[in-house]
């Protein structure tokens, strides 16, 4: 399976000074889910206006509900029989994994996962028979494979392993060169969101899994691994955060929890919904270690405004901080060592509502994940995507045009002493139809509006989970590149992307920008010179 050329190739790299490109091995780029690609140098403010579509490929993945292509990952210099390649790995919701040549847009290999059909109610329990076309499935339980994989470090021979949890809850260890399983898959339960690789464990949050509710991990060193599940964590709101859990310097695994009750009276069955919960491994299981519950959790529950996006963790003046947000549309600054104080309700700082004044669970609020970076002057920034219009009562010194109405990105600076940090609004982007989690690279923000219709209930037909309704009413995704300091638009993809994007993410690596859409097409944008290189 391992190619004999790998060792030689690695030797050449290190002995001969062959330049290695950057890799994007996990959603958000790191354990902290910063979304910051520190290594990107090809794309710059000086040349970004020349960026164009380099290629697109119809992967053939059929959407399940609204899900299609998940966030791409990138590995440079993957040894292949035709020489080292930069390869893009992307999961398709219909249980597919694709490896695409980053330079040519040609398929290198693809996998299709099969597993016994789920035994649950038809149509995810949304009424009626199982639809023959998976596009009609309910968007909250699309089934299929919807996690973002994680790619491990090179082994002694320079090869890497990609870990992906298929729709049947089977964790695969896949050789990135061949696409083949390196060892039998481990049945660990489904992960709806991104995987983490930490301390020789694959870690994720389980939502629907019959294996566990809470954090689940699988050891990569155990020859006969069994999933390690959570204890003392009662069932209430599911684990959210599109980029999956974030992990701090202490090894605490942080996740947000969806709508539900809060009842901490029983330490053996902690009900901690609408919160940011940190899990630690104790006695061989994952246990809730500490948490922050907004003091208005009952309101959040009442209105389905849970803090549903992945937090981001960073250092600020020598202190580790965590920023989180959600559908309510505040940003919290938390100390991962003591996130909510003695009462679990006291953050270091919280912003006023910067959007979602109408308390709408479906078309407003912050969704997905926060991002963070530090500019050359040492200023720490937090970037928050949002849907719907911003709160006019919260003043951002810079408001870009056309004014955000359907969503956008909001940028905050972390200010104050490390002992008393706060967030200062700096800029708000132009309008984007449903602002999605962004990537920071080389002083620029790579953001996008998904173009998705996010309405779940209508005045006439009420609540309806048939995903084709939303699909029919959706537009198309548009990538925007913004100046990270001002939010000014530097470039956009215009009408290039033909359909919308649902609950996925944008990737920037080695001078290329990737985004998949509902139709299963993976788009790659880059500089014209890169197009020539690929031809």
């Amino acid at each position: 399976m391992k190619k004999p050329t790998i060792a030689l190739f690695i030797a050449l790299v290190f002995c001969c000074g062959l330049a290695l490109g950057e890799n994007w091995l996990t959603d958000g780029g790191d354990l902290q889910r910063s979304g910051w690609n520190k290594d990107e140098k090809t794309l710059s403010k000086d040349n970004i206006n020349t960026m164009k579509l380099l290629w697109k490929i119809d992967t053939g993945n059929g959407a399940r509900a609204l899900h299609s292509l998940m966030t791409p990952l990138v590995v440079d210099s993957v040894p292949t029989s035709s020489g080292p390649k930069q390869i893009v790995y992307v999961v398709g919701s219909s249980d597919n994994l694709y490896a695409v040549d980053a330079k040519t847009g040609k398929m290198v290999w693809q996998r299709h996962f099969t597993y016994p059909a789920a035994t649950g109610p038809a149509n995810g329990g949304f009424g009626g028979p199982e639809p023959t076309d998976p596009k009609h499935l309910g968007f909250l339980r699309p089934g299929g494979t919807t996690d973002v994989p994680v790619i491990g470090p090179p082994d002694a021979s320079g090869d890497r392993t990609l870990y992906v949890d298929d729709g049947g809850g089977n964790l695969h260890s896949i050789d990135i060169t061949s696409g083949e399983d390196e060892k039998p898959a481990v049945h660990a339960g489904e992960s709806k969101f991104s995987l983490q690789l930490y301390n020789n464990m694959i870690i994720y949050g389980a939502i629907y899994s019959p294996v566990s509710t809470g954090i689940v991990s699988v050891s990569l060193t155990d020859p006969n691994p069994k999933p390690i599940v959570s204890a003392n964590f009662g069932r209430s709101g599911g684990l959210w955060g599109r980029r999956g859990p974030a992990i701090d310097s202490q090894g605490t695994v942080w996740t947000t929890t969806g709508d539900g009750n809060v009842d901490i009276s029983n330490p053996n069955n902690l009900i901690i919904a609408d919160s940011m919960v940190g899990f630690r491994m104790e006695d061989g299981v994952w246990k809730p270690w500490n948490w922050f519950t907004p003091s208005n959790w009952a309101w959040l529950w009442h209105r389905d405004l849970d803090p549903n996006n992945t937090p981001t963790i960073f250092n600020y003046k020598g202190r580790e901080l965590m920023a989180s947000s959600g559908k309510e549309c505040r940003v919290f600054l938390l100390d991962p060592k003591n996130p909510g104080g003695a009462d679990h309700h006291t953050p270091l700082y919280k912003t006023p509502l910067f959007c979602n004044v109408g308390a709408d669970f479906q078309n407003a609020g912050s969704w997905g994940a926060l991002s963070s970076w530090e500019d050359p002057s040492g200023t720490r920034w937090v970037l928050v995507p949002f849907w719907g219009p911003p709160n006019p009562a919260v003043k951002f010194p810079t408001t870009n045009e056309p004014a955000a109405k359907e969503g956008g990105e909001a940028a905050f600076k972390v200010v104050g002493d490390a002992s008393n940090p706060s967030l200062e609004p700096v800029w708000i982007s132009r309008d984007m139809h449903r602002g999605e989690p962004s990537i920071i690279a080389n002083g620029m923000i790579f953001a996008y509006g998904s173009g998705e219709n996010t309405q779940q209930a209508w005045p006439d037909i009420g609540l309806n989970f048939d995903s084709t309704i939303r699909a029919a009413k959706s537009g198309h995704a548009i990538i925007y590149v913004l100046d990270a300091m001002t939010g000014k638009q530097l470039w956009s993809s215009g009408d290039t992307i033909k359909t919308f994007n649902h609950f996925s993410g944008i990737t920037v690596a080695n001078g290329r920008v990737y985004l998949g859409d509902y139709d299963g097409t993976l788009y790659c944008f880059g500089l014209p010179s890169e197009a020539a290189a690929g031809q």
Binding site: G260, D263, N296, A298, D360, L463, I469
Partner: protein, 576 residues
């Protein structure tokens, strides 16, 4: 399939824990008119003692009172997954012809729907104390006041309040039969058109979407005569009931039923209905007075019969009505059974209100029991399946007079609606509460002070040789013309309406609207201990006008309206 769908939602909507609805969908909370807000946890003795219950907000509507009518008592949809988000909505009718929806969490207007008259209805006469004209009936929608969307039992979510701990499951709706809501109830937990109903002064049944109040999507249907005085609407499944009273507009009194065939919805929003809604209207005329009480009718838990009480009139089956409790077929309104109490009763005088209370239905020892009140001041317990036995005159139990009829237009008697609940924590003891006007004649073991004007009285249902009987328990302190009580979580919610308890002047002529308004006192809400009758809290002088409506309890809050078109909401403030 529906149940499966709902369970799926438990794991679905926002990946949230399932939130169980506890609505207040019609007068006295449900089609059975039992006045019991099951599953309520926030409104508790502990939270009252901790002074957590307070006036959360009041809201002044732009309605104009018509005669004595102003705002109807609210109905409450605890949770709608709406096109603008999750909301708890209060639906309230205004006498001048509009329906309002308030965002109940924050007391802000969500929508207002104005009804334009259809055709050329007869102009209403000048408002009198009994016949105001305008929109008179409480609104109604399908559902129950405790898990009525058909999926109760598994850890209902508390509506609000901090660190309350896990709410216990409520189990099957004890004593009520837990009939699931049908016909588009559920405010979003369903795929049918979620609607509620109002009756406008032109006599049309208006079908409003819960989502946005649109009343044109389903065409209005002619239902009752224009300018009729409609008491509380009732809805059971796909049938809407409207009782008329007081011969307003010169119309005879009776009961109207609209058999509703829901429209077939389009697959895509914004498209025309696939099939239109249909209404088939039938009626039952009393040939005398209207249906007693503010609730109009009560419906058996198994939907098999509709109960109502008629003070005077006549029919082919039951003969002369004399506080007769009728059991009607739910779709044809044919009389299936009846009970007429023995003994003499004071006459019903045209143009003057008589004491009257709408029967309530509950389960006791696997029997369906109907509790009714007579103008003789007695309470009757009837077998729901055989109201008066073979001779139609034999109740299961008749109490001594609780309050004596007043021949001098004092209005003494039993009024409004009942409240009844089953105390599962104490041997499934069944309690019944009633609102009386006048001095009680019955002795109660406990009282909370003198009560010469009016009061709430409490009884336990006890087993007497296999039949139910009533054991007096307590009488509250004095209240002015109390509205029908409501019970929840071991508490009794009572509203001293402030309306004059007298129904006419000494010479027997009715009061004018202006005279009624002048004599009235501000309404006061009281929360009583359900087992002792002791006052636990009151609204004091918060309200500045009297009330002509009633109480609603849902989602941790208690609501009432006053004649100055103001809604008052009490509960635990919700941190936003």
């Amino acid at each position: 399939m529906r149940k499966r769908f709902l369970w799926a939602l438990c794991f679905a909507v926002g990946l949230c824990a399932c939130v169980w609805a506890a609505d207040w969908p019609s007068t006295a909370g449900n089609p059975q008119r039992d006045g019991w807000a099951q599953g309520e946890t926030d409104l508790s003795k502990e939270n009252i003692a901790a002074k957590k219950i307070e006036l959360v907000y009041k809201y002044k509507f732009d309605n104009k009172a018509v005669g004595l009518h102003d705002m109807t008592a609210p109905i409450d949809l605890e949770r709608i997954i709406g096109y603008q988000g999750f909301k708890q909505l209060l639906f309230i009718g205004g006498s001048s012809g509009s329906v309002y929806a308030l965002d109940s969490d924050i007391g802000e207007l969500f929508f207002k729907t104005k009804f334009d008259p259809i055709g050329s209805p007869a102009a209403p006469a000048a408002p009198s104390a009994l016949c105001s004209g305008g929109l008179t009936a409480n609104l109604a929608m399908p559902g129950q006041s405790g898990g009525g969307r058909g999926f109760g039992g598994a850890g209902r979510a508390p509506a609000r309040g901090a660190a309350r701990g896990a709410a216990p499951g409520r189990g099957a709706a004890a004593g009520r039969g837990a009939a699931p809501a049908r016909g588009g109830g559920g405010g979003g937990f369903g795929r049918g058109p979620a609607v509620f109903w109002a009756v406008s002064s032109d006599g049309y049944l208006r079908t409003l979407r819960q989502q946005d109040g649109d009343a044109t999507w389903i065409a209005p249907a002619k239902f009752v005569p224009a300018n009729a005085d409609v008491t509380g609407l009732n809805v059971d499944g796909d049938v809407i009931y409207a009782a008329t009273a007081n011969s307003c507009g010169g119309n005879p009194n009776g009961l109207y039923a609209a058999l509703y065939t829901p429209p077939e919805l389009p697959q895509m929003p914004g498209e025309p209905l696939v099939t239109q809604a249909k209404f088939q209207v039938v009626n039952f005329m009393t040939n005398g007075s209207g249906f007693s009480g503010t609730g109009g009718t009560a419906i058996a838990p198994d939907d098999s019969l509709v109960y109502g009480q008629v003070a005077e009139g006549k029919g082919t089956v039951a003969g002369t009505y004399h506080d007769t409790v009728l059991a009607l077929d739910p779709k044809t309104l044919d009389v299936k059974d009846y009970f007429t109490p023995s003994g003499s009763l004071p006459p019903v005088k045209k143009g003057i209100a008589s004491p009257g209370v709408t029967p309530a239905v509950f389960s006791w020892n696997d029997k369906t029991i109907v509790v009714a009140g007579g103008r003789d001041g007695r309470l009757y317990l009837l077998d729901g399946s055989s109201l008066g036995g073979a001779n139609h005159r034999s109740p299961l139990y008749a109490s001594d007079p609780v309050v004596k009829p007043d021949p001098h237009y004092g209005g003494d008697g039993i009024w409004g609606t009942f409240a009844t609940w089953e105390d599962a924590a104490n041997g499934n003891t069944r309690w019944i509460y009633a609102a009386i006007r006048g001095q009680a004649t019955m002795q109660f073991p406990a009282s909370d002070g003198s009560a010469s004007t009016g009061a709430i009285v409490a009884f336990k249902v006890v087993d007497q040789g296999g039949n139910p009987a009533l054991s007096p328990q307590w009488i509250s302190h004095d209240m002015i013309s109390p509205a029908g009580p409501v019970t929840a979580n071991g508490l009794v919610f009572a509203l001293s309406t402030g309306m004059t308890p007298r129904v006419a002047k000494d010479d027997g002529t009715p009061y004018t609207v202006a005279e009624e308004e002048k004599m009235a006192k501000p309404a006061v809400l009281y929360i009583l201990d359900g087992t002792t009758g002791k006052e636990l809290m009151s609204s004091g002088n918060a309200a500045t006008s009297f009330s002509t409506s009633g109480i609603a309890v849902a989602g941790g809050r208690v609501f009432f309206t006053t004649h100055d078109n103001t809604l008052y909401a009490y509960g635990i403030p919700l941190e936003r």
